[in-house]
């Protein structure tokens, strides 16, 4: 996780719920690869996300991202769209677990909720993100942000590639 | 030379003497539409006529997917609500609990009456022949045109006479007879024809049983199917006829028929229609033991109180072995079933009682089948994929056979359980 990533920002506000990320209409889907086409379909003003998102783009959000349902679809539809990381002030606990359990990074970024409200980070801004240090630079506005460190257990699960892989590794060690 | 029922009914409506194969234009007594009133309304608006010809002759009954199980259905229903308000169509049965399956409602609300010309944008509109009406299903464009003009053309059909004598043995019902009949005459056996059911066998049947017969007329190609409007019918409509335009009509004894069949009900045994055709008849004895995943009791064919009573008589005090969906044909039937304690029997035996409507019959909701699954159903069609996946299987049977099979998890002869 030492690389520095560059990409465009898709910016969302606080309390983005799981129906806005991935609507209940499509819950019967079981193949993660089919999920990106429905991402943010119900989010007013972001209906075009699924069509226009490019691999390498970032999802940037305020507080409590992914609140609501336990559906893991809400992680897959972003992960499988090629978004390398979700950057949020905080996210719901189930959403966080679901991301970690898939080895998918969510970085908690201090102050980003206010920065979004103040327009210091906007849709289409070019970002530079270091997954290693959690440092983020908005190359368009010049704003800088810093992410929280992740706990050791979550790091271990992440680096194993997800919870199931981690458990397999642990079993192999025994 | 005498006249058939169709010649009399269409002649009365056209105000002239008519014979088979003549084309007539008539004013329909009722135009019934269900959820598809929404697309019909869209077509109607394209015609350029501002108002429907007679709003009081139009009936809307939401039943195909109620309450709305998806956004598309929800939007559709809303269009029907708006159109009926805009056009002053007061005969509107929304998703609330005064509704039910459209054909059941048309009969129990007193729209289905002897001698009337009734069209519906649903193929099972032929059900109302049980009340002596000339009723038939039409397409959406034709319905839009009927709303606009108040007229519709028919070629006076040739007629088929089915003479039924004798009595059912225990465990055998009208559904078993009609499945056997369709198996004999095949799916196109009465194409374009008016089918008349005659004889003491029919006279002894309840109106509910006659509805089951007429309902399945379309499954052997009939334009309409009809039974003689006898005293039972007159008693039933006495207090709730929705109009006074009706008149009991029946064929003359010396009428001319294109085909004639004779059946003794005493010869009928429990039967099924095997996948994937309604005319793919087998006796229950022949398919006994076939594994089943879902049982469905309901629909415009067999969702009436008489059907629920029969099924409940087998389920009482016993537990079902497979998932069993019970859908009364209307809320009126549901309430009657509740009063009689039938709902308790179904719940105690482990059935799901869904709100009245068409349910899974045409694959909309409430019990869709997965690949490889088989259902036994009291509905009227077992076409490939009708209730879900194209690799699923539907056996059509009577309420008794469905209930017996639900108890065993495989196709079962109800006479073994009785």
């Amino acid at each position: 996780m030492s690389e520095v990533l560059r990409g465009r920002a898709w910016v969302f506000g606080d309390d983005v719920d799981t129906d806005l990320i991935y609507h209940n209409k499509y819950l019967a889907e079981t193949d993660p690869k089919n999920m990106p086409q429905y991402a943010f379909e119900y989010f007013p003003g972001k209906e075009h996300f699924a069509k226009e998102v490019k691999p390498g783009d970032f999802v940037v959000a305020g507080k409590n991202f992914g609140c609501g349902s336990s559906r893991e679809h809400a992680v897959y539809c972003i992960e499988y769209a090629g978004v390398p990381v979700v950057l949020a002030e905080t996210c719901s606990r189930i959403y966080y677990r679901n991301a970690i359990n898939n080895g998918y990074p969510v970085l908690f970024i201090k102050g980003i909720s206010d920065a979004i409200k103040a327009g210091k980070i906007k849709d289409g801004d070019e970002l530079e993100v270091s997954l290693d240090t959690g440092n983020i630079k908005d190359l368009t506005t010049g704003a800088e942000f810093h992410g929280d460190a992740v706990s050791d257990l979550e790091k271990d699960i992440m680096s194993a590639g997800g919870l199931i892989e981690y458990l397999k590794e642990q079993a192999a060690k025994k | 030379m005498g006249k058939t029922f169709a010649e009399k009914a269409l002649g009365r409506a056209a105000g002239q003497d008519v014979v088979a194969n003549q084309v007539v234009t008539v004013e329909p007594d009722w135009c019934m539409s269900h959820d598809n009133a929404a697309p019909i309304a869209r077509t109607f608006k394209k015609i350029g006529v501002k108002n429907v010809w007679k709003p009081e002759r139009i009936v809307f009954i939401l039943d195909h997917a109620i309450p709305a199980p998806s956004s598309d259905h929800a939007v559709n229903h809303k269009e029907v609500r708006e159109f009926s308000a805009e056009q002053g169509i007061k005969n509107f049965y929304d998703v609330m609990s005064d509704g039910g399956v459209c054909h059941q409602k048309m009969c129990e609300e007193g729209y289905a009456l002897p001698g009337l010309i009734m069209v519906g944008s649903d193929s099972h509109t032929c059900t109302y022949g049980a009340y002596g009406a000339f009723s038939t299903g039409i397409g959406r464009s034709e319905m839009a045109a009927a709303w606009a003009t108040g007229s519709i053309w028919f070629k006076v059909p040739e007629s088929m006479k089915v003479v039924v004598t004798g009595k059912f043995k225990p465990g055998v019902t009208a559904k078993d007879f009609i499945l056997k009949f369709i198996g004999d005459v095949k799916a196109d056996g009465a194409d374009y024809m008016s089918v008349e059911f005659h004889g003491e066998g029919i006279e002894n049947m309840s109106i509910a049983e006659r509805m089951t017969l007429c309902n399945m007329g379309i499954e052997f190609g009939a334009k309409n199917a009809v039974c003689k409007p006898d005293q039972k019918v007159l008693d039933a409509i006495k207090d709730n006829a929705k109009c006074d335009r009706w008149e009991p009509l029946w064929a003359d004894d010396d009428a001319v028929y294109a085909a004639e069949y004779h059946y003794d009900l005493g010869d009928i045994v429990p039967g099924v229609a095997k996948p994937h055709k309604v005319d793919n008849y087998a006796t229950v004895a022949e398919v006994k033991g076939t594994p089943i995943h879902e049982a469905f009791l309901g629909s415009c064919t067999n969702g009436r109180i008489e059907d629920l009573r029969e099924a409940a008589s087998l389920l009482k005090g016993k537990k079902i072995a497979i998932r069993t969906v019970v859908i009364p044909a209307s809320w009126k039937v549901y309430r009657q079933a509740m009063k009689e304690g039938l709902i308790d029997i179904f719940l105690d035996s482990g059935c799901v009682i869904c709100n009245p409507g068409c349910g899974p019959c045409m694959g909309n909701h409430e019990g869709i089948l997965a690949p490889g699954e088989a259902a036994i159903s009291t509905a009227n069609r077992n076409f490939k994929g009708r209730m879900g996946d194209k690799e699923s299987f539907i056996y059509l049977a009577s309420p008794l056979t469905v209930a017996a099979s639900a108890l065993k998890g495989e196709i079962t002869d109800p006479r073994e359980v009785l």
Binding site: T30 | P67, G363
Partner: protein
């Protein structure tokens, strides 16, 4: 210093002393999945572990069908079949098929849940089982599939918030109104990752249905788990269903008197009034009185929050006071949470009265709350519901929903516009 309930529960589950902030591996008592997410769990488990792999303990796994029961689409039908087939292969006997009802409620009625149990489920409102003192939590399919490997999963030992409730509700005011009040006060992030113990005389006297309601929206405040230890009538009910061990467990996992809490909040319900969550967020709370007269198109009473017999009974009380009639311009849908509730309501004669008035009474399911099911709203329609989420577009694009108690919802059904139930009850 004393321990909170969640610390005690996690110590039992992990088999070692724990402290707040630790990441601990807990033994799972129940790892459950619904027809929502369940097929994803099965497919993931089989993909990762192989088709021959066995789950750690088939007697600790359960499946419930409530998302779309009976199935509304081929995809759901297939998902349900995937679950049934897997259960058969794995020897999992507890499959609560389409004829049972909402998962947590069904498992509770089946006597499966005890205080101190660790319960996972693919339902973000799984944690309402904290209403009987279990640590239940909603998770995604990876967590479930992983737990099937060896029966464990990791959790962070959370800090605990305590909410003490005193006073008696006035007529027309219910536990749902207290819950709405708390959601409004604390907001969507107000219980971030916390365990929450509800205590006080109002809670001790509350029915099981009321406790379930109160616990059902902790998720909407980002809480981890609510906890109430069974006592009185609730304990009796639990002992009848789950055995005498419930009584021992209720004692064992009760918080110590000197336990440490991150926050203690106090609520007195004496002067509480009917409240509603207005569109489009649960924490957008206003008094029902203030929004009275707002036109609605559809009323829905049910869900894991308010679908118990007592909830239907409360609605019936208002309905009866109004002469057993609802306004003909609105669609009213009542969905019991389980078949047991459906049978109770039927035998009590309430269903018959509802049906006579035009109310639609459905089979037990999550109904329109989770996914496309009975009563999806068209664009522009306004709904009124006793469910727990009113996020924008949740029950239909372009629609909006007010959340409120069964009494307020029924008062609204009676008048056709949002109505304070006290105006009908007098």
């Amino acid at each position: 210093m004393g321990k909170t309930s969640i610390v005690k529960i996690m110590e039992r589950a992990s088999g070692k002393p724990v402290k707040v902030g630790d990441r601990v591996w807990c033994n799972i008592d129940w790892s459950t999945a619904r027809d929502f997410g369940g097929a994803n769990c099965v497919l993931q488990f089989e993909k990762e572990m192989g088709m021959e792999a066995k789950v750690w303990d088939p007697d600790k796994i359960a499946f419930t069908f409530d998302l779309q029961a009976p199935a509304h689409s081929e995809k759901v039908a297939v998902n349900q079949k995937i679950i049934r087939d897997f259960a058969k292969r794995q020897g999992i006997k507890r499959v609560f098929d389409i004829n049972h009802g909402i998962g947590q409620h069904v498992m509770l009625e089946a006597g499966m849940i005890k205080p101190g149990d660790v319960v996972l489920g693919t339902d973000s409102h799984m944690n309402l089982l904290g209403a009987v003192g279990s640590f239940a939590t909603g998770v995604g399919n990876s967590d479930i599939a992983a737990s099937w490997i060896n029966g464990t999963n990791w959790f962070r030992v959370p800090e605990t918030m305590k909410i003490e409730v005193t006073g008696k509700f006035q007529k027309g005011v219910t536990m749902r109104d207290l819950l709405t009040k708390i959601v409004g006060d604390l907001g969507a992030g107000g219980m971030d990752f916390l365990a929450v113990e509800f205590t006080g005389e109002t809670i001790e006297n509350a029915t099981l249905a009321e406790r379930i309601t109160l616990c059902s929206m902790v998720t909407e405040m980002s809480g981890k788990v609510p906890l109430i230890m069974p006592n009185g009538e609730v304990l009796k009910w639990m002992v009848e269903r789950a055995g005498p061990v419930v009584a021992e467990r209720a004692k064992e996992f009760a918080a110590d008197p000197d336990a440490e809490y991150i926050t203690v909040l106090k609520y007195d319900v004496t002067n509480l009034e009917p409240l509603a969550s207005c569109p489009d967020a649960p924490d957008n709370v206003k008094p029902v009185r203030e929004i009275a007269g707002t036109y609605v198109d559809q009323i829905h009473i049910g869900s894991c929050s308010n679908g118990r017999f007592e909830d239907i009974e409360a609605a019936f009380e208002v309905f009866k006071a109004a002469g057993c009639k609802v306004n003909p311009n609105v669609r009213v849908i009542i969905t019991p949470s389980t078949r047991e509730v459906q049978i109770q309501a039927t035998k009590a004669g309430m269903v018959e009265k509802f049906l006579e008035a035009g109310v639609v009474f459905t089979n037990p399911t999550c109904s329109l709350c989770t996914a496309e099911h009975y009563g999806v709203l068209p664009s522009g329609d306004v709904g009124c519901s006793t469910t727990n989420r009113n996020f924008i577009g949740k029950v239909g694009k372009g629609s909006h929903t007010y959340l409120m108690s069964p009494m307020s919802a029924m008062a609204t059904a009676v008048k056709g516009v949002i109505t304070d139930p006290r105006d009908i009850l007098g």
